[in-house]
């Protein structure tokens, strides 16, 4: 089950593989959404996440390794800059939308008529549930 990884050749075992990953994925800094204050360490900024050859991003994104899987080439896009106000925002639906570019919600609201009907409807729909208080935190281990 030895995985051959690009030019690095055959790894003797997965432990080493894991270690290699750790050194590669060292965070560059901490991403912080300027709207909701979500914070997470990012390991890459750009449009071509490392270790992934077949996917490109359509915006300059702050990216981390997907923490919910052990696959080292899985990435998670955290957010990017709003193409209008340049605020750094997360991709969460409460903070921004993507419609061929990234827009933070305040900017969308300001320019709502520039967006197609579908987006407007979508935002309308979204408002209702977003008023719901943060869900009851579930169990702590």
């Amino acid at each position: 089950m030895c995985v051959v990884l690009g030019s690095e050749g055959a790894m003797p075992c997965l432990l080493i593989l894991q270690m290699a990953c750790e050194t590669e994925c060292r965070p560059l800094g901490v991403f912080k959404c300027q709207l909701c204050a979500l914070t997470a360490p990012y390991s890459y900024v750009g449009q071509k996440p490392p270790d992934t050859q077949s996917v490109v991003l359509l915006e300059e994104s702050y990216v981390m390794k997907d923490p919910f899987t052990s696959d080292k080439d899985r990435f998670l896009i955290l957010g990017s800059r709003c193409s209008l106000c340049s605020r750094l925002v997360c991709v969460g639906p409460e903070c921004s939308i993507f419609y061929s570019k990234r827009f933070c919600l305040p900017c969308v609201q300001k320019n709502i008529d520039a967006f197609p009907q579908e987006i407007r409807q979508d935002l309308e729909k979204r408002k209702v549930p977003s008023k719901r208080p943060a869900s009851q935190p579930s169990s702590r281990t």
């Binding site: 089950m1 030895c2 003797p12 075992c13 997965l14 432990l15 894991q18 270690m19 990953c21 750790e22 994925c25 909701c36 979500l38 914070t39 997470a40 360490p41 050859q53 077949s54 996917v55 490109v56 991003l57 359509l58 915006e59 994104s61 981390m64 997907d66 923490p67 919910f68 899987t69 052990s70 080439d73 998670l76 896009i77 955290l78 990017s80 193409s83 209008l84 997360c90 991709v91 969460g92 939308i97 993507f98 419609y99 061929s100 570019k101 990234r102 320019n111 520039a114 967006f115 197609p116 009907q117 579908e118 987006i119 943060a134 869900s135 935190p137 579930s138 169990s139 702590r140 281990t141």
Partner: protein, 1165 residues
Amino acid sequence: MGRSGPGDQNRGQFCDSIVISHNMPPPRTREGRDPRDRHRAPREEEAPEKWDFNCPDTRRLFEDAFFRDEDYIRQGSEECQKFWTFFERLQKFQNLKTARKEERDAQHPKHSIPALADLPCTYDARYRINLSILGPDPRGARGLGGRLPPERVSEFRRALLHYLDFGQKQSFGRLAKLQRERAALPIAQYANRILQTLKEHQVVVVAGDTGCGKSTQVPQYLLAAGFSHVACTQPRRIACVSLAKRVGFESLSQYGSQVGYQIRFESTCSAATKIVFLTVGLLLRQIQREPSLPQYQVLIVDEVHERHLHNDFLLGVLRRLLPQRPDLKVILMSATINISLFSSYFDKAPVVQVPGRLFPITVTYQPQEVEPTTSKLEKLDPRPFLRVLEAIDNKYPPEERGDLLVFLSGMAEISTVLEAAQTYASHTQRWVVLPLHSALSVADQDKVFDVAPAGVRKCILSTNIAETSVTIDGIRFVVDSGKVKEMSYDPQAKLQRLQEFWISQASAEQRKGRAGRTGPGVCFRLYAESDYDAFAPYPVPEIRRVALDALVLQMKSMSVGDPRTFPFIEPPPPASLETAILYLRDQGALDSSEALTPIGSLLAQLPVDVVIGKMLILGSTFHLAEPVLTIAAALSVQSPFTRSAQSSPECAAARRPLESDQGDPFTLFNVFNAWVQVKCERSGNSRKWCRRRGVEEHRLYEMANLRRQFKELLEDHGLLAGAQVPTPGDSYSRLWQRRERQALYQLKRQHEEGGGRRRKVLRLHEDQDGSSDEDRGSAAARGAGDSVDIQDVKFKLRHNLEQLQAAASSAAALPRDQTALLKLVLARGLYPQLAVPDPFNSGRKDSDQIFHTQAKQGTVLHPTCVFANSPEVLHTREQEAGDGEGGRDDKDKMSSRHQLLAFVSLLETNKPYLVNCVRVPALQSLLLFSRSLDTNGDCSRLVADGWLELQLAGSESAVGLLAAALRLRARWESVLDRQLARQARRPEEDEDDEAPVNRGEVAALSRELLRFTASKVPYSLRRLTGLEVQNLYVGPQTVTAAPSLPGLFGSSTLSPHPTKGGYAVTDFLTYNCLMSDADLYSDCLRTFWTCPHCGLHMPLTPLERMAHENTCPQAPRDGPPGAEDAAPEPPQKVSALQRPYHCEACQQDFLFTPTEVLRHRRQHV
């Protein structure tokens, strides 16, 4: 753009009829920019019957093109399957949508802001996706362009895009949720205060009740604040693992290794680790190695309120360490129990108190009427518990969710209530009843976390394990019996007692709190409020309840000074300390000045009971390491035998071939070895194999782990030659082995990934009419169905199966004498834990067999004990000597086959039980191991350790045996001493050290020990009565003329024993100090005697006879016991006064003292 040419020519089998009006997107460019992509309506009707995305061949073509090894999704992966599922759903969804979707014209005015001006005017869901796939180049990859119609490729790409976007949304959603939850924890608002206080003080107490999040959050706050060497101790191993996982997950480095754990057998730490969760025991060992603990910046001691023995000790050690390490920060984390105790212990350390998150809980007191004089042995009455179930059913509609947690004192109580509650549940169909205690398998324990079906409540019957260790969500009702079973320790009898107590107020509150974690709750207390008021405020700390041997040993090895003056947070009872110190001196771990002996310092490093540690050391001396390792490991874990098996005859029958009538340790030994064989031969079946025999496999895994740890420790200490891993010779098999290991690692990794998710499987409990036993079986079956046996995988990764198998198969054929030697090793290790069978046992029922230890009369065999079913092997069967003067009963029966039971522990529940017994020959064991042996004048009457009397048939054999025993003991001691001395000064240079204990010597010693053990001398065995013990000794004598007995027992000079009377021959043997009806001067009576070796014939006292035999040069080296010469060390044995003497008359050489020479000459006169 436009159609790609090759597609037309090699359209292949699929697309003859497809109207190609669709634009193939250009290769290697961004997807979905061109609104014309969507012009797909025309083909909607014609495709379905021809085109089948579900066809495996079709899918494979796509997979070949898009899911290559370098792609985001790989062919054949789980992800790939998930994609196709997603794909199917998306197709269905889009079919619905496209039906009512009509084309809209792009009528949007251009926006003035450039960023908004170039927004696509026709909406398409694809514009909402911020990534794009680089597909295979159709021109480069002819195969794809050729065989797949472009619009299908486009459809596929589109789906793939949505899939990736969906994945992103999902993961981001989880991330956001995680952060929301963290922020909502009560402790979140205290993060800064904690960090600030820590900046200003060396020690901070963080007090917060369960649910406030302290265990998971505080380490993360430290990490965020830039600390990088954080250790967090936990009282339990499981907590280390689960906390490391949780914190790793929350801090988003689950698969990086900033967060790790370290427990007895496992460590996930690396250079990158910043927080490590470890057990208190392990931290103490680290301190033992490096007392200043330089590797840590911050130390979090969690759950200090639980007052575990090690935790209390750790606090003491830290208090001393802090002034030397002013840079070390310590956070004590506690429930809001007795906080001031900890604060004041650390010089009024500041306290940050965090409120727990508890909903209001209604308390109902339901005191039970005391039933008129029900005997103590009677079972618990389950009715009050059923009444609560009933009350809940009546009062709360089933739609209102909320489970019930019942606190009972112990396992027996749980099974009583379980039975009754299950009957009730099968009537009402509204309850799922589950037991929860530490003896359950992990799989069964995990069941309590599953969710009951709608309209059904869980009823969890638990010991106090659910008070703090296990947290179950969704509990709305709590029933508190108010009782707990706790081990208490009787230092006088060295007896552990499992007794039922009232709980403390703190525990009662803790139990109550479990009802209010997810919503308002109800707590039913099955006692009166006045009872509650009478409860002790806090539970008794462990240090006041348990044997302190191990603690004292550890304190000694950490050189923290006299345990009596150590500044414990609350000192242990002085009597417990004294008993422990005395015991360790008895066991040879401490010398007379209470300093650690070599054996003691070794024992201090073995994480086991002193007796088991001794076994390991003794076993390695005799090259019995392999079997002793297994036995020691087996005796150090909980019994692997499940309770349910006791009632199942099939189980009992399947287990029988593994039982050994030598005793429980040998049965465990057989079980382990057979299991290893099963693992080697047909792995995966081991789980079934275990179930069939009523064996908890988990315990066997623990044994394997422990065994390996012991082995490494013995190797580290030079007691065991380092393992030469037998590497397979050829490169092929090496390669194969490596492959196999890699495959195993892969499996392990997959399991770990899947682990989090798999657990939440909802459980529909359909088998609730079944009895509890079926329940258990089905749970195990369910477990077996789960693809990989991760335990098996871990086992194979951790252990060298070949080595284990070699050890196991050699053990299967353990020769008879090896078994006998092994028994000696066990007996010496276990000494003085011996029990003597009651003389009337042979006339009693199997279940009524009683045994007596020195301190406790009337103990019984534990029901799991192998002798409980076959007590006859313990009876003194024969009267072989025949001359047993009529034999009134067994009491004074003369036999050479009296046996004693050596036992591992004495546990009192409703009766005092002997746990894990081995039978050993009585006379020989007592002669070899007794700390005190007293004799009468002719040595035919012996009293061992002041409680067992041995009456030997003949004085001659008695003297012979005694002399042999003395020599054997001296030699055994010397072999052991030299071996331990060697390991004590064991730096690297000892490779060319002359082997201090040569193999030949050990072999000779074992031979002689075996011969000694096999010697057949009829004797009677009897426990002395209390009165006899009081009047045992003659006491100090006025006539102090020491008999001139040069060379009797080595060079020791005889001195009158100050209290017993008689003469102290060695530190354990006192000659002629026993009070007897016979003539006080019997020892002075000389009778004519002929030496069987040299033919010497003269009147001698028994003592003189022994003296002669010990030194008789004619005695054959390996002669029968009693006639041996201590050849290996003659210089030591020779009295200073002895000189070689050649007798002219008889032409023989002697070693004689001047008096002996005279005596000898007289013969020839």
